[in-house]
């Protein structure tokens, strides 16, 4: 349950919400284009308009979409934040130090010294109160309050006793009584926050930078009421570089500069408008006529800009896309009410499909951009024996990618023959597989390409079920599907962030894959202290996944976007930072 973020992301338009891993190379920094006067951008001085899709919830502890977090990053300061190189720097906290706990385990108790004089402002920009350590304590206890059903409550379970408290508070049977006082965070004084961890966590600061971990001003929260907090700009308080002034649901959010912010003198933008578009043509038209400054673009649109000679920016969204496969076997059915017994339960069929799909062709046809065919599952993580972990995996596989970039029809057919035996069929036409597809033209095109490839290469007639993202997820969670396209990006720079996903107990493992061997292998990495040996264990895990193939990796995501000539510098889009516009400067 540690990494919900990414599974929540694959939405109707693929451009919707992208989160990513660190590492994995460059990422993009969008400066303005060559001064050709082609797309001068919006006319309002001092402000920019950027595209941002889903913005349904603005209560930080209830947010789920990367796009919502992008807005939140500009409105609230957590203890720490990421800079333009994705390095952790102080935000609400100025400095911090760590100490061993009572048992002598290093780095278990952390003390954060908050910035004094930081203020809470309302949507009008009026100062309401001071930001103190108690605001963090309060926010985190609300995150752990089962009544709020925060999707990301798990982020707060890194603290000592937090999970036990959550279980007790949600009335889990047999859970021992734990009070909030026993949970591992408290305010030593107004500006000193002390944290005690449940387990060693090398990536603590990466956790603390998350927008769900931002503070909440208790008196105000209680005044508006938990159910009203965050339903409109005036029902929120802000401690970040910007404050929200207007919010038209499904349409636009306006954030203006918060003059009370500690570093406000270095913020040159007066306002940021976050606009949602439902029609990608309209979006492109709006960019060209100067009604928006930053938009994500499709492969076709990229070709158009390139033909015009206008610079196209690219960032590695740090994202693996793959097919979830329904692994549920006949004997498991009883454990999963509502689950479907799918033909995809045959390993050989999954392998046949993996060999029959032409990953490069999918990218060239559907996306027409720099997406790469997945050589392995975990790609962007820094490696020990090689620059990235992905390269280490490929090296361990004699330099060959674990998953073929182009179709290998012969191998596919070999596996198909085995699959027919597994399933007790005599002919490929008996195989009934359908591709659960969430709406959105790119998703639908994607499914159609796969459908056609499997038809040509294997002779399987694959159905396509186009459903809403909501229904798709519900069916995926219930394991009532054959194949479903999903995405995942790691939350921190360690293979664990990716590979933990496929353990039988992981809440985001929606495939029904449960291998004791794999679980044991992942468990063993926790005890291994030698980095190289630990990496080898993860490499083994990757190889095991390729052998069992509970899911089929397809591609590794890159994202194209264009920026109007109005923007001079400092527009940051990186893994983990969907947008960082705090220090963006404008031309003129």
């Amino acid at each position: 349950m540690k990494k919900r973020i990414l599974s929540l992301v694959l939405a109707g338009t693929l451009a919707l919400s992208l989160f990513g891993c660190s590492g994995g190379g460059g990422g993009g920094e969008g400066g303005g284009g060559a001064a050709q006067g082609m797309y001068p951008g919006t006319s309002e001085a001092g402000s920019i308009r950027v595209e941002c899709s889903t913005m349904s919830v603005m209560n930080p502890i209830l947010m789920t979409y990367a796009t919502e977090f992008a807005v939140a990053r500009h409105c609230w300061d957590a203890l720490v934040k990421l800079d333009e190189n994705n390095q952790v720097i102080g935000a609400a906290a100025e400095s911090w130090e760590s100490a061993p706990n009572a048992e002598g385990v290093e780095d278990m108790i952390w003390t954060f010294h908050l910035r004094e004089g930081a203020k809470w402002v309302n949507s009008q920009g009026e100062v309401v109160g001071d930001v103190t350590a108690n605001d963090f304590v309060f926010a985190w206890s609300e995150l752990l309050n089962p009544n709020n059903a925060a999707e990301y409550y798990a982020f707060a379970t890194i603290f000592k006793n937090a999970q036990a408290y959550y279980d007790y508070a949600s009335g889990v049977e047999g859970a021992p009584e734990v009070t909030l006082d026993q949970v591992g965070f408290y305010a030593a004084d107004d500006y000193t926050l002390v944290i005690e961890l449940e387990n060693p966590l090398p990536y603590l600061l990466q956790y603390l930078k998350f927008e769900v971990m931002t503070p909440i001003y208790q008196p105000f929260y209680e005044e508006v009421g938990a159910e009203n907090y965050g339903t409109s700009p005036d029902k929120l308080l802000y401690n970040g570089p910007f404050r929200m002034t207007e919010w038209t649901l499904e349409n636009s959010i306006t954030t203006v500069k918060n003059d009370e912010w500690y570093d406000a003198s270095n913020v040159s933008l007066k306002a940021i408008y976050w606009d949602k578009y439902t029609d990608s043509n309209t979006k492109l038209n709006a960019f060209q006529t100067g009604e928006i400054d930053v938009i994500d673009i499709t492969g076709e649109q990229r070709a158009q800009f390139e033909a015009e000679g206008y610079p196209v920016n690219n960032w590695i969204a740090g994202y693996s896309f793959y097919f979830y496969c329904n692994n549920i076997q006949e004997e498991d059915l009883a454990n999963y009410p509502g689950a479907k017994l799918s033909d995809a339960r045959s390993i050989n069929l999954r392998k046949a499909i993996s060999y029959a799909v032409d990953r490069q062709q999918i990218i060239d046809t559907v996306f027409k951009n720099d997406n790469e065919p997945s050589p392995a599952f975990s790609l962007g993580i820094s490696g020990v024996s090689a620059e990235t972990f992905g390269e280490a995996v490929v090296a361990a596989n004699n330099g060959q990618p674990l998953y073929n970039p182009t179709a290998d029809v012969e191998k596919a057919k070999e596996y198909l023959a085995l699959a027919l035996e597994d399933l007790g069929y005599t002919d490929a036409s008996q195989i009934k597989i359908s591709l659960l597809t969430s709406e959105g033209s790119q998703n639908e095109l994607f499914s159609q390409v796969v459908q056609e490839q499997l038809r040509q290469n294997l002779g399987i007639e694959v159905g396509i079920d186009v459903v809403t993202i909501t229904e798709a997820r519900a069916r995926r969670n219930a394991k009532n599907y054959d194949l479903f396209m999903g995405g995942w990006g790691p939350d921190y720079d360690d293979p664990m962030s990716d590979l933990d996903l496929w353990t039988s107990t992981n809440g985001n493992n929606h495939t029904g894959y449960a291998s004791e061997e794999y679980d044991a292998l992942i468990e063993s990495t926790k005890a291994e202290s030698d980095p190289a040996a630990r990496e080898q264990l993860f490499v083994q895990a990757e190889l095991m996944l390729a052998e069992d193939m509970p899911f089929i990796p397809i591609y590794w995501r890159h994202e194209d976007y264009v920026v109007s000539e109005k923007v001079a510098d400092g527009l940051i889009r990186l893994p983990f930072q969907y947008y960082n516009l705090i220090y963006t400067t404008l031309a003129q």
Partner: protein
């Protein structure tokens, strides 16, 4: 002033045969209507257009060297008239007459496959409308009395509900597909037809010739078959012709909302919806399905107008 001799005028006597003869050839109502329809050039042009659409939709997908879902990765977004020379069909000189779409599928084949789907939806809905409406309206109008009142009240209530809302709700509930669209559309589409038929039947019942037929002891069956039906049919045909474009329109609308038919099947609506994504770069991908939709809708509309004129007794000469 010259006198004309009285003798020169003589009574020729009456000719019983000539007296009753009809000097003009006898023209039935239908013949008359057909004559007027045929002389209406616009309507005839529309018939030709519809005929062409039908013929192509039936035969083009069969005769085309490409299948509608076949993807040519070497030729994605190909312009009109590209010769297909990728690995699948190199050397056999097949041409993508209308180019290919973003997945390299032959647009010519897809347009006519889409035409099939759109026209099947349109015709099937029209037929359901026709029969449901005729039966419901006919019963209500013919029997009259309490039954009529009840049936008409029910109809009025259903008619008050905005039809696209109902279609959308139904599309949400039922599994996606051609049948669903037809059912959803027909479920509300028959109402105008029923009203029309009922009104027509009620009006006819007051006419003298019906009274005469009744007086002469015509059976119910004969009344319906010989008197009511033929006199209502013309209005119904006009109505059906005009309901076809509205079904095509609804299908396109549903496709835009993402509630239309499911891939890999395509319809004109879904092709236009796909084409609109790329029309800045590849305008033909939008223009071709759009022209097909518009032309067909127009043809049915104008043909319906022509039919109405042809059937209009006021215009009968």
């Amino acid at each position: 002033m010259a006198h004309i001799a009285k003798e020169r005028f003589a009574h020729v006597g009456e000719n019983a045969h000539d007296r009753e003869a009809i000097s003009r050839p006898s023209v039935t109502f239908l013949q008359d209507a057909m004559r007027r329809l045929v002389s209406n050039r616009v309507a005839m042009l529309c018939v030709v257009i519809v005929f062409i659409m039908l013929v192509f939709s039936i035969f083009a997908p069969i005769l085309s060297p490409f299948e509608y879902q076949e993807q040519h990765y070497g030729h994605t977004d190909a312009p009109i008239g590209t010769v297909c020379n990728d690995a699948q069909s190199a050397g056999n000189g097949h041409v993508h007459l209308f180019g290919t779409d973003t997945l390299g599928r032959d647009i010519f084949t897809r347009i006519w496959m889409g035409g099939r789907v759109s026209l099947i939806i349109a015709f099937a809905s029209a037929i359901v409308d026709f029969f449901l409406g005729a039966i419901y309206g006919g019963i209500s109008g013919y029997f009259g009395g309490t039954l009529d009142i009840i049936l008409m009240r029910i109809l009025e209530i259903i008619n008050g509900i905005p039809y696209l809302m109902i279609v959308i709700l139904l599309m949400l509930v039922m599994p996606p597909g051609i049948i669903t669209i037809i059912v959803a559309y027909s479920l509300v589409g028959w109402i105008p037809m029923a009203r029309l038929v009922r009104g027509q039947v009620v009006a006819l019942k007051q006419q003298e010739f019906i009274a005469a037929a009744e007086a002469m002891g015509a059976s119910t069956g004969r009344m319906i078959a010989k008197h009511l039906l033929p006199n209502t049919l013309s209005v119904m045909i006009v109505r059906v012709t005009l309901s076809i474009p509205s079904a095509i329109f609804s299908e396109a609308y549903l496709s835009y909302l993402g509630l239309g038919i499911r891939p890999p099947l395509c319809s004109w609506g879904s092709l236009a919806q796909l084409g609109i994504q790329n029309f800045r770069l590849y305008p033909s991908q939008l223009i071709i399905p759009a022209v097909c939709i518009s032309l067909t809708m127009l043809a049915f509309n104008l043909f319906g107008d022509g039919l109405r004129d042809a059937f209009d007794p006021k215009l009968r000469r």
